[in-house]
């Protein structure tokens, strides 16, 4: 149980990454693929946060009274995740825009019809 307790955030993060990957591999509907990408992104962001997390830790604001050295989480991964979220949103918006364009061109969101270009 202590393994589960210690690594619960990592398990959750990699679980989300696995779900995202599975969706990307199995699904053929463009919107579902985009949802898969989004879940994958969330998993990666959670992984970054859990890298810097300390159980029971709080924000490293030095002016706050009674803050011990071991009671703070690492703020760098959180700054990274903010950036990564912004990038994720940009990709999501672009992907949805392309999905709209794809639907206008092909009348469907099924990627199995997208066979105009092949090796």
């Amino acid at each position: 149980m202590s393994f589960l307790h210690d690594y619960v955030y990592y398990i959750g993060a990699f679980g989300l990454v696995a779900v995202g990957l599975l969706i990307l591999l199995v699904k053929r509907n463009l919107i579902k693929l985009i949802i898969g990408l989004s879940i994958l992104d969330t998993g990666v962001n959670m992984l970054l946060i859990s890298v810097g997390y300390i159980t029971g830790g709080t924000a490293p604001i030095f002016s706050r009274p009674g803050l011990s050295e071991g009671g703070m989480v690492d703020p760098v991964p959180q700054a990274l995740v903010l950036t990564a979220i912004v990038i994720g949103v940009a990709i999501l918006a672009l992907a949805l825009g392309l999905a709209v364009r794809f639907y206008k061109n092909c009348g469907t969101l099924d990627l199995r019809t997208a066979k105009e270009l092949k090796w």
């Binding site: 990454v17 990957l21 990408l37 990274l80 794809f102 061109n105 990627l111 270009l117």
Partner: protein, 489 residues
């Protein structure tokens, strides 16, 4: 001496000014990327002598090295940023006439952002910063591939986006693991502490990072998106994707393998992957009947050749690899630019529709021929010294295995020669069904092709012009300890 920061700040600022300029005059918006890349070219060339003496390290925000975001303008970084700016300048001139329909203002904004992303990747010394610039480069290229908005472009862009986003996610996981292991994001700091941690997790992080970056660098088998994206994009964007984007991805892979991880055990694997990429690319290119797809597959092949040369990891072979990188940028960008107007005039991308082009567009056809000969490696063009260096350095190594590999490499070059000569034969020696009047590409497009032709011939005749700089670039990539020392002091 100016700080390398301006190489990123000025084009980024200009990119965001494009819509404002576009409000005043639609036509003027196209000159903003020209100005941005001209600025970068001048500054990069100005920084080059200093960077060759001693790498220029700029720490952003005034913090000390491991905490600040570091920009590392060594020989490789400055050379590549000059190359990006040079290709960016010529292609943005070409786009002044080529991109005349559709949302042109957005095109110029995204194009300038693409330049910023590429310059950022080659200059940064921080792994997360690398990811951010990489995403700027990738997101703008996803959008630009779909610029025309037709069915093929949208489809190609979706494929590119999904594979690219997956690659970026893997890259980010790898960066997260690195941060967890080392507690730092500075490349030099990670490199310095590489020996002090358990190699198992480091290997996992390395595999994730190389796979993630390998998608953009088009290393087989991660390159399924490339032929679609490069052939469906507008030709000016194909030139940038083939000439700049994949090279920058490859640079990132090499920087990670050589400098950050110092992974000599990976090199033989990369040699094989490079050769496999080369063979797959050239053989697929041979089978194409669509001219732009043929060029796209040829890019895959060339990337394989560069990976092969870099992964041999001797000073001469890395010099050859960097030389080939420069030569591929110039030649492939020229080819895509020339093909852009040939396809535009003939109305079809089939090779057979280019019959009689030698009469209809003699100057453009000449530019195409120079690019093709240079890529195949004929003297007196730039492709000759670069391929010669690679083969010579590979043969200098002992071992039968490597000689067999060089034999395969030369066989791939023969295939490359075959399909390029076939196109040239179609262009010059087959008569078109209907005689059409001579109609050249516009003057500004011809001028940008002319820039590439001159560079290809001049560097081909005098390879010493750049070989010294490339050699110090090679030793920068190979000497990890020097890199660490110049950043951390």
């Amino acid at each position: 001496m100016v700080s390398p920061v301006v190489l990123l700040a000025v084009p980024l600022g200009l990119a965001l000014c494009v819509p404002l300029v576009g409000m005043a005059s639609r036509k003027a918006a196209g000159f903003v990327p020209v100005a941005a890349s001209l600025f970068n070219l001048v500054v990069s060339v100005g920084l080059l002598p200093d960077a060759l003496e001693e790498p220029i390290v700029a720490n952003l925000g005034g913090f000390a090295p491991p905490f600040a975001i570091t920009l590392f303008a060594g020989p490789v970084g400055v050379l590549l940023s000059a190359l990006v700016a040079l290709a960016g300048l010529a292609v943005s001139l070409y786009a002044l006439s080529y991109i005349s329909e559709g949302p042109t203002i957005r095109y110029h904004t995204l194009y300038t952002l693409l330049l910023v992303g590429a310059t950022g990747v080659v200059l940064t010394g921080d792994v997360f910063n690398l990811f951010v610039f990489f995403e700027i480069l990738c997101i703008s290229s996803y959008a630009l591939v779909a610029y025309v908005g037709d069915r093929a472009g949208t489809e190609a862009s979706i494929k590119y986006l999904i594979q690219g986003a997956l690659g970026s996610a893997l890259l980010l996981i790898g960066i997260g693991l690195l941060y967890g292991l080392f507690g730092t994001l500075n490349m030099a700091d990670i490199a310095a502490r590489m020996g002090s941690v358990d190699p198992g997790p480091v290997f996992v992080a390395m595999v994730l990072i190389i796979t993630g970056l390998g998608v953009e660098a088009a290393i087989f088998p991660l390159n399924a998106w490339l032929p679609d994206a490069h052939s469906s994009a507008p030709s000016s964007i194909s030139a940038m994707l083939s000439g700049i984007a994949i090279e920058v991805g490859l640079y990132a892979v090499v920087r990670m393998v050589f400098t950050v991880f110092g992974a000599s055990s990976m090199l033989m694997f990369l040699v094989f992957m490079g050769l496999l990429t080369l063979l797959v690319g050239e053989l697929c290119a041979f089978a194409q009947s669509n001219i732009k797809r043929m060029l796209a597959y040829s890019s895959i092949g060339q990337m394989g050749l560069i990976v092969f040369a870099l992964a041999l990891a001797t000073v001469h072979s890395v010099t050859g690899g960097l030389f080939q990188l420069v030569s591929h940028t110039l030649s492939k960008a020229l080819l895509f630019l020339a093909v852009g107007y040939m396809v535009y005039r003939s109305g079809s991308m089939e090779i057979s529709s280019l019959e009689g082009m030698g009469r209809r567009m003699p100057l453009t056809s000449f530019a195409f021929t120079v690019g093709a000969f240079s890529l195949v490696g004929l003297p007196p063009f730039i492709g000759f010294p670069s391929k010669f260096l690679i083969v010579r350095s590979a043969l200098a190594e002992q071992g039968v295995l490597l000689q067999v590999l060089v034999g395969l490499l030369l066989a791939a070059t023969v295939v490359e020669g075959a399909y390029f000569l076939r196109v040239i034969q179609t262009v010059y020696f087959k008569k078109g069904r209907q005689q059409e009047a001579r109609r050249e590409a516009p003057a500004v497009a011809l001028f940008s092709m002319f820039v590439f032709v001159v560079l290809i011939v001049v560097i081909g005749v005098y390879p010493n012009l750049i070989s010294n700089a490339l050699e110090s670039g090679a030793s920068e990539l190979l000497e990890r300890a020097d890199y660490v020392r110049s950043v951390l002091g």
